[in-house]
Symmetry: D4
Subunit: 248 residues, 8 copies
């Protein structure tokens, strides 16, 4: 940022740029304002990853407007999360549009080449946690990571988890996804020597209180190296896993 | 109960017992009323185990009164739980009085002979859970059980737990005690083929919310055969474990 | 486990088993991996009771896959819990399939012979608690227990409960099921001399907060011998009751 | 109120009272303003019972100021609740001052003659609930009621409660006080045919969450005729019980 | 009870009743057991008011069965609460059946003559609280009370409430019903000199958390003489108000 | 009020008004009582702003009755909030009726001229918060304020917010609306030198717990000058903003 | 900000300021960095009010360092909130230091002249709320406002509040402070035609849950014009009241 | 693991290792059992980082025992967290013992050389968050990381944070620590392009509910790349940051 301003100031000094133009440049908004949304174009450079559209709470028309705005700026890769089937139908004729129903995820554009440090393991406690896991796994793959899926390896049948000890011990990052008592994160956290991203899910009933039980469990994990994202936040976990897997 | 009343009725019919005496017998209260407490003598017969004095919230004087009332009725074995050190000092000259400071537990009278079906395993996730575990273990021993202590076998270092697979798989009943994320109950529940009594503890900080995290975790255990008692309720777990270990 | 490994090692020593075969045997997974589920076959031996399919959150197709996997391994007795009517319709043509709509429970295969220590009493506070009670009772019966049903014996009409004093006092294990204030567990716990498994239900409104009131009530029971399972967890209570009723 | 204003208006019409005097009278404040407190003198007439001083959160000096203000207006009977021992020491030389340490209650002036419809039963689940019970009982006695104390009759030993069936069934109002699971209110509510005022107490530990468990339990009581006051609010229960026991 | 047993014992003594008959009489259940419900006939005598059917969570068929059981015992007055429109349709051809849709309340049989001590005021904070208020008012009327309805007198427009000062100050019992901040109970409690039964409602949104806000507010009322029932529990309030209004 | 009563008293003194007429005037209720609602006409003078109809929980017929009552008293400007589409259809033929579907808001009558001190900025964290924002913005406009809308300026893309620094720093009042973590209020509160009204929204999922997360966040704002209204309460924020923007 | 940058750019263009100096000026931090704190000097200009030191959680030494830093920049008026007595003793020899023990508030420097639009009323429900009220009142006075204190005017004695109708109806801003049920804010909100800032306090016991009851109550206020600050946040309320009272 | 077992099997095959020795080796416990604690020696290899002693809830004697056990196995670098001053005094004469009082952290042995990918930024919202921050920073330094401390950069004074844009944008990992509304994590998360570990603190009062507010806020962060650890868990954040900073 500094260098940009310095260069600008030097041009003002040299007279090659006028005061008004410089002022304008400093103030130019790095996003397009659609009224209902401000589409962010600098993010790609600022954070190294293109903008993602969070689909929940937006009308299909609003989402289409955002897609068009992105494309108008040459953004050819777009990820849309939490998209309802209805909205997906409305948008399905967009070029390159691919909808994964379970994960409620849309990708537009080609998947990045897997070029991370190692593999990302996505593990779930049960079968019902799979939609959240797919949101995480597909996100990670889209951002250029090789993903190993270990589904239904909950701690109540420890041998199922232990049978995958090698995948767990050789992973670069692990996403541990579980509802109910959420113990999976602690057990995996104790076995692995890499960062573990815990995702509590709303799977369960009664005293699971919509994922609160798994959330508290994971926050209190006695294993080191474990951190937690929001309940059912598969995207957030996949995104962070990719970020860690692409450290230098 | 029926047979008692039938016998009484028959004696009334025969004339060997008067109406007033019969009425009195039916109404006789099976406890001594000390005003501040009603000491229960029928319990021994009703539930097979003598009365226990819950020490918290009672003055030392009240506790002494209850002890004396029990002894007056020939009760020679008494257990007192949650007794503060101050109260223990006040009562320490009572005959047979033994105070375990960590567990805040008092026994008066000899320990019962271990005659249960098998062994009771008392396991803890960490070192800080030991006071609750000792309350459970000492209670179980006092009621006549052999107890195996497995302390600091939390799930974040799974090999510590797996090293004791044999004790766990051959136990008659297991008491699984843990604070923080409380995952121990689920993992043990998945390994064992006997009833597991889970005791959440208030060990932890922050989002453990005084044991709420471990409590919810244990209630949501995906392992079958697990049930839960109140936070820090070592006595309740030890008592129930003994009850189960003495089935027929 | 030890003996198995010892025998294997001895065969390796004798040369009757090759290193690779031994390695394979040690690593062979005792479950079938369907991708979305890992069907567990060792459980029957490990825990003495065959695998149960938790129906909620699984598609009918996934459940069918699991059933087929089990049958392929000779598992002829299967229990499915929390199965929606729709899923039950999809699966209804499976051989031996029996669906109890109230309890949302499916049994495949014959019911075990009742061979427990004694009888299991399943009691409810009100009429609305019956679906949970039936889940518990049918589970217990399926695992080979005689069940006595005492429905609508809530504490606000104590004489209804007291009229069944004999069933309660002679039970081997009691499952006490109640919503609202959940006082049934404490009152039964005080009358009985056997383990009481308390099941809070989500029956009620307002400050029952989806079963939280009954749950807290039961966890704080002042009666000894009471433990608690998750809200509406009839299966868990029935399974544990059977386990206790089959001690030695 | 109407008649007072009518009379005043008539006097203004007649000229026997000036406009300014009438205005003043309408506006005259029926309390003394001490700055930190507004002592209420109309209350005695408005509600039939003299003002009570809630001691918690007031300095001893403030309380003394309020007492003096009351006495200055001829108030000879004063009740002070939740008074710490320190404040009680400071005020102990006041004439007629009587401090009940357990109940943290002060009475100044003679106790009213018991003239209610019938007897008020104050019952507790355990010994630790007695301080709250004494606050209720002493309050009721001070307002002119005969009180029957039934302490330590918790539902886990039902025979202790049933032995007092007659007191319960012949009571005019019952105050049911319990911590932990708070089941006492429901059981008494089912036995009695009079209003039951339930007082949850903060007695307990772990999942009693400072009285929340008993509070929810009592609010969800399936017995009719039960209403609830705040946790540990012995005064409120005693006051309301007296009000009901003095219905014309 | 005593006198009954005494008489029975005397007849056994005289030989006019056999032991077996006496035993039977003592054991005869004062209710009819329908399997799914135990219909209570002693309640009328025990509590002075006939059984009420809580409609929620029961099938129309179960309710019909209970009605028939009651009528078979000569119970000609029945109240059904929380009955859905569907169930009401199913039962509508029952003799004397009257359904108040707003209050979801059914009365069978004639309304009792109003013979209470005074009038019961039923007040609401807003228009949306009226269904709960009607449940309370109709219940009170059915049990023989004159009811004054003061609807939409919430504290944010104090003059609307003050305009009804006379009704409030002359009431025998007041039922104060409000959602949102629930301040109505405190304000009325400060104006009235009679018992106030506060009913929090689930009316509101956001931080009203389904009635929790009003519930806590009412429990913390600084006005004396206020007690609280469950959220939306109009029946409970009307029943208790009638009980208080019929104190000898 | 004083002056009115004084004038009335003077007229009584002069004999130009009779006692009965004076009494009537003092007692005349400044609202119309529709039974289910008390329509308030004094409010316009008491609070400077006409009555608003809260549409939720009222039947279309009740709302129509209130509208007619208002019009009968010459009220020509009416605001209706939280009106469902169904109710809006029912009322749509009312003269001057305008329904904004997103904001669920109805205006009847002309919008007031913008005459506030300055501009009111209404800002949202995301696109999904717009319905609440429109409720606030339209309310403020209706009460005579110029509104600047800044939508989708959440803190995760700070440059979007900083680009509007001028609007924020020159605002008279700011309404900051956000769900999820609700950080917008603090960041704006730190940038602005005017009152900030924070509106948490129920936008989000998982640990947003229906707006609780944003609510707590905003209440704990470390920026001075921030206060909070109920979750999703756009109307309340717009109304208060207008009030502040019309200070003398 | 714009004009500053424009001027700087013009000077760069003219050559009167070098590129490096301009870069430095743009980057110069408008605060002093003490390591443990960044003392903010621009705030006075940015927000019109000087920095306030939040005393809780800072060591006396840290606070002294911040005072010195401020004074070094010519800041002669400093407000310190939530200062413990111990810290106040440590700092008491600072020039102009004045400590109000109840409010835990320190002022350094002269109080601003009262120059607001009108008067700020600070009202409390009870005597125990006074410390919070004093924090609000002293803050408002320090920032140049005339404050009217109305203490102990809780809604349970409505006449105490109504006696001050004139102060309330003529106020410019009102700070309504109450614990327990927090109804004061709604009642005042309905009487006043100015902004009402509600401050819940932690005064109360049992179900007040540390101020949660009053907080929820105030957030759900049915009166318009009410907004809420954090529990016990007297400073925040006084600061905001002053801000509103100084709207141009 | 596989290769180890394979080698062992090969040696058994060759006869160079006996069956019993092989069995022993497979079973040898990789920890020392002190009874109250199981000291873990494999962890160093398993997770790449030596064991850490969690000091809270352990007696000084227990901690000493663990230290000695570690040293006996050649562990020369030990970290102790959450150590009270009393315990630190007891242990202070241990060789190499260094106690940081604020962070309640002990290091034994030399600090590792900083060899991470880049710098770890540790930022706090306020001065009161520093103890937690120091726990994180010292932990990260001890594990071989260069740490940049940015304290008191809370979002309410955004320029303080923006002044450090360069440190934030060039960081390898950021630990964002804040209490109260916890907005710091979102704002930093939006600025940075590296993983952000959010640590909620218990700093605050009232509705911060011991850190719950900041915790929920951080979990709901709308910025991508943010994950959360337990309230006040500085160690966990520092450890995880180091792990990420040492990827390959």
């Amino acid at each position: 940022m500094d260098t940009e301003i310095r260069r600008l100031l030097e041009e003002v000094q040299k007279g090659s740029v006028s005061v008004d133009d410089a002022l304008l440049k400093i103030k130019t908004e790095p996003y397009e304002d659609l009224g209902y949304a401000k589409v962010d174009f600098h993010r790609k450079f600022r954070q190294g990853m293109p903008e993602v559209i969070y689909g929940a709470g937006k009308t299909p028309e609003q989402i289409l407007g955002i897609i068009n705005s992105m494309r108008g700026k040459g953004q050819d890769k777009i990820l849309i999360t939490r998209l309802s089937e209805e909205a997906a139908d409305f948008l399905s004729n967009q070029q390159g549009f691919e909808y994964k129903k379970d994960a409620r995820l849309v990708t537009i554009g080609y998947k990045s080449k897997a070029d991370g440090i190692g593999k990302i393991v996505v593990a779930t406690g049960g079968t019902s946690d799979i939609p959240v896991a797919e949101e995480a796994a597909l996100t990670a793959e889209w951002y250029g990571n090789e993903v190993v899926r270990l589904y239904d390896v909950g701690v109540a049948g420890l041998h199922r988890l232990l049978a995958h000890k090698e995948e767990i011990m050789s992973a670069s990052v692990i996403v541990a996804i579980a509802g109910m008592e959420g113990a999976l994160a602690s057990v995996i956290g104790g076995m692995a020597d890499c960062p573990v991203i815990a995702v509590p899910t709303s799977v369960g009933y009664g005293a699971s209180f919509g994922g609160l039980s798994a959330l508290l469990s994971m926050l209190n994990s006695c294993a080191s190296g474990v951190s937690v994202v929001n309940i059912d936040n598969g995207f957030g976990a996949g995104y962070l896993a990719s970020m860690i897997n692409h450290m230098i």
